[in-house]
């Protein structure tokens, strides 16, 4: 691939992620502000955003943050919140035919819900390339780290994002993407199983087990409907 095509691909990735950048900056500011109220310095908040780069687990960590920090508590919480990454990385890995092995592992270190969702969406319509993926990652990563730093430095000067409805931006993006993955009744079965299991788990089990429970239930539903279809085909 020529350098010019690579650059075009990189720009294409940046274009695809741009609406999500607008949505992630307020969330990053809020993360930094929350971290500041928990006694983290801007350097610590920025370091966490840069090294962990997983919003959900960072907010959970702030929820359970104590002094001095407990690495077992936040480490296990991060594992639990991000266990969905295992499924996401397995799924996206099958779309990375155009990546060298090192590029595949390096790219996967930047796996985040938003980046993953845009990449999966891209893979449905075109071949996913490393340059396009880098176009997703670079601006999103920088926006997340710097908004976290800024939030920690500005602290309580920021308004309440809940009043503005900005906390709803990410669920809204995910809903739009879910609608895009619709392929017929079997998708309906997956969504129903996943949604029901997630809500039931949320009700009965404290913490963030609901994400793993919903994902596994959806997967199980896909396997059951898949088997039925195979049985119909074979006499």
């Amino acid at each position: 691939m020529s350098n010019n095509t690579k650059f075009q691909d990189f720009l294409g990735g940046m274009r695809a992620i741009s609406p999500l950048i607008a949505a992630v900056i307020p969330i990053g500011l809020v993360f930094g502000a929350v971290a500041a109220t928990k006694g983290l310095s801007p350097a610590e908040a920025g370091l966490m955003s840069a090294l962990v780069f997983a919003g959900g687990s960072q907010f959970v960590a702030m929820d359970i943050w104590i002094h001095p920090a407990s690495w077992t508590g936040v480490g296990f919480a991060a594992l639990l919140v991000n266990i969905r990454h295992v499924l996401m990385s397995a799924s996206l890995g099958t779309r990375m035919g155009g990546f060298s092995a090192p590029a595949r592992y390096l790219s996967m270190l930047f796996l985040a819900d938003e980046i993953w969702a845009m990449a999966e969406f891209r893979a449905k319509v075109a071949r996913l390339t490393p340059a396009w993926f880098a176009g997703l990652v670079a601006p999103f990563y920088l926006a997340w780290v710097f908004s976290g730093l800024a939030g920690a430095a500005l602290g309580a000067f920021l308004g309440d994002p809940v009043v503005l409805g900005l906390d709803f931006a990410f669920p809204a993006v995910f809903i739009v993407l879910v609608m895009g993955f619709w392929k017929g009744p079997e998708t309906g079965a997956v969504l129903l199983a996943s949604g029901a299991a997630a809500v039931a788990t949320l009700h009965f089990v404290p913490g963030v087990w609901y994400i793993a429970a919903g994902a596994v239930a959806g997967l199980a539903a896909a396997m059951v409907t898949g088997k039925e279809r195979d049985a119909e085909v074979m006499p």
């Binding site: 610590e44 966490m48 690495w71 991060a78 594992l79 809204a172 879910v178 609608m179 299991a197 809500v199």
Partner: protein, 100 residues
Amino acid sequence: MTVDIAALVAILAMAAATVLTRLSGLVLIRHVSLEGSRRKAIESIPPAVLMAVVAPTAFATGIAETLACAVTAFAALRLPMLVSVALGVACVAILRALGL
């Protein structure tokens, strides 16, 4: 700009956990063959995970959130992503301001 040692260790533990989850899927698919119904199952992962993440907001947070989710989903059938998301955010802000 200070970094406490306990905080640094905690951050590194979180980073290690996320690296583990991010890479293990890639390792997994190297050792498991992906044919037929397994392939189908892999293809169902994106909607299954996304649904699990939004389910609490959609069904178990409040009337404002549930209605805004419905508006967003309906808008997504016809409108571009950014417009649908903006409608959803505006909808939830208005409904919350009304006290729902």
